[in-house]
Amino acid sequence: MSASSKGKGGARAGRAKVDELRQAQQAKERRSRLILIGAVTTVVALIAGVVGFTVWRDVSTRPSLDAVKKFDVTREHTTEPATYEQSPPVGGDHHPAWLNCGVYPQPVPDELAVHSLEHGAVWVTYRPDLPADQVTALEDAIPDTYMVLSPREGLPSPVVASAWGTQIELTGADDPRLEVFIKEFRQGPNTPEPGAACTGGSDGELPTTTG
């Protein structure tokens, strides 16, 4: 009895057991495949997320130059006193001599500064009542060459940065757009005479010529 049942019933039970085990194994296999796919997807999504977030944060915190104004200006040389449509001027007719780049503690003649803009300089002007520490901060913030810094009456904002044909009104020395403006426009593609000097010109005195 026990022997025969072991023979026939045992074979059936064995096949059932094998099927059961095979199904269990297949289920296990599906599970591990799902886990693997899930893990890979999670890792890829995490990497994409981190990269995406970093790029987004970089782009969204980058100071915007949307406030930059552009102007069409003339560029003749004249020894006559010039009048300008913008204040500070961003271009227009100007003196044959250019203003040497550098830091000026007093206002500079427009006719000279405009010529330096033509040579690729960025001219940073500030209200005469700007606190001294902010003036120092401006001096530290600007490159050593192809930059003019000077006070100026009647500015529309505490600090104004100008390059040839373009200008931005800034809130102060700590306005992050100053650096971006300088990087974009100092000797930038807007420069009518790239390579022309910002030294060897005038130190701020309008040369007295008859002509």
């Binding site: 057991k17 269990a24 690729g120 000797q187 593609p189 390579g195």
Partner: protein, 211 residues
């Protein structure tokens, strides 16, 4: 029993794993391969030695040109005026090359960091002076002194300043030679290094002759 369910199923799990691993490896390989090709063929980075040298050496050269022009207006010595002419024409031309490269690379003439940041933090201290200017650059005060000087005094001061200027220039060029990636920058850096090194000998001889 223990072998039969595991037997046919175990390889299929590892096959899935193999396929996934192979796909990831192929993706990583393709990405790093294209990144490598991209960096090889793309223009230099905004922060690298090629761009940094091209910006800083332009400013460095501009001051050499300024000093050479000043001494030509203040000296009658034929040999010194010829050396000054040589310095100002060659360095002005080289500055134009560097300006043009930056334009071609689509990079602004103005960098994001301090001067000489491109030599790397380890070297930056050795290459900049306490006030953050480039090696060998004359201070504003010394340039004013040269402007006020005349004759022999101007010649002596010019030679002293230009020797220091060239020594700094050689150091910068050697740093670029060690770090720059593009052939054009490395070729010019090598030319500047050898030309200025030999000119130092000449300038020193001329300074010694003037007591």
């Amino acid at each position: 029993m223990s072998g039969s369910p595991a037997g046919p199923t175990a390889p299929s799990v590892s096959r899935t794993t193999l396929v996934v691993v192979a796909v990831i490896a192929a993706l990583v390989g393709a990405l790093s391969g294209s990144w490598f090709m991209h960096t090889r063929n793309s223009p230099p980075s905004d922060f690298g030695a090629d761009a940094g040298f091209s910006r800083d050496m332009q400013a460095h050269h501009a001051q050499a040109v300024e000093m050479a022009l000043l001494v030509r207006e203040r000296s009658d010595d034929e040999e010194l005026r010829t050396v000054a002419y040589d310095i100002l024409t060659s360095q002005q031309q080289q500055a134009g090359q560097m300006y043009g490269w930056l334009v071609q690379w689509g990079l602004p003439q103005t960098g994001s960091g301090e001067p000489m940041a491109w030599v790397g933090e380890d070297h930056a201290k050795a290459h900049t002076r306490p006030d953050g200017t480039m090696p060998g650059m004359a201070s504003r005060a010394l340039l004013d002194e040269l402007r006020a000087a005349d004759g022999l005094a101007a010649e002596r001061l010019f030679l002293t300043l230009m020797i220091a200027h060239h020594e700094g220039g050689v150091a910068m060029a050697d740093a670029a030679l060690a770090q720059a990636r593009t052939t054009e920058v490395r070729t010019l850096a090598a030319a500047i290094s050898s030309a200025q090194a030999s000119e130092i000998t000449l300038l020193q001889r001329m300074l010694d002759e003037r007591g």
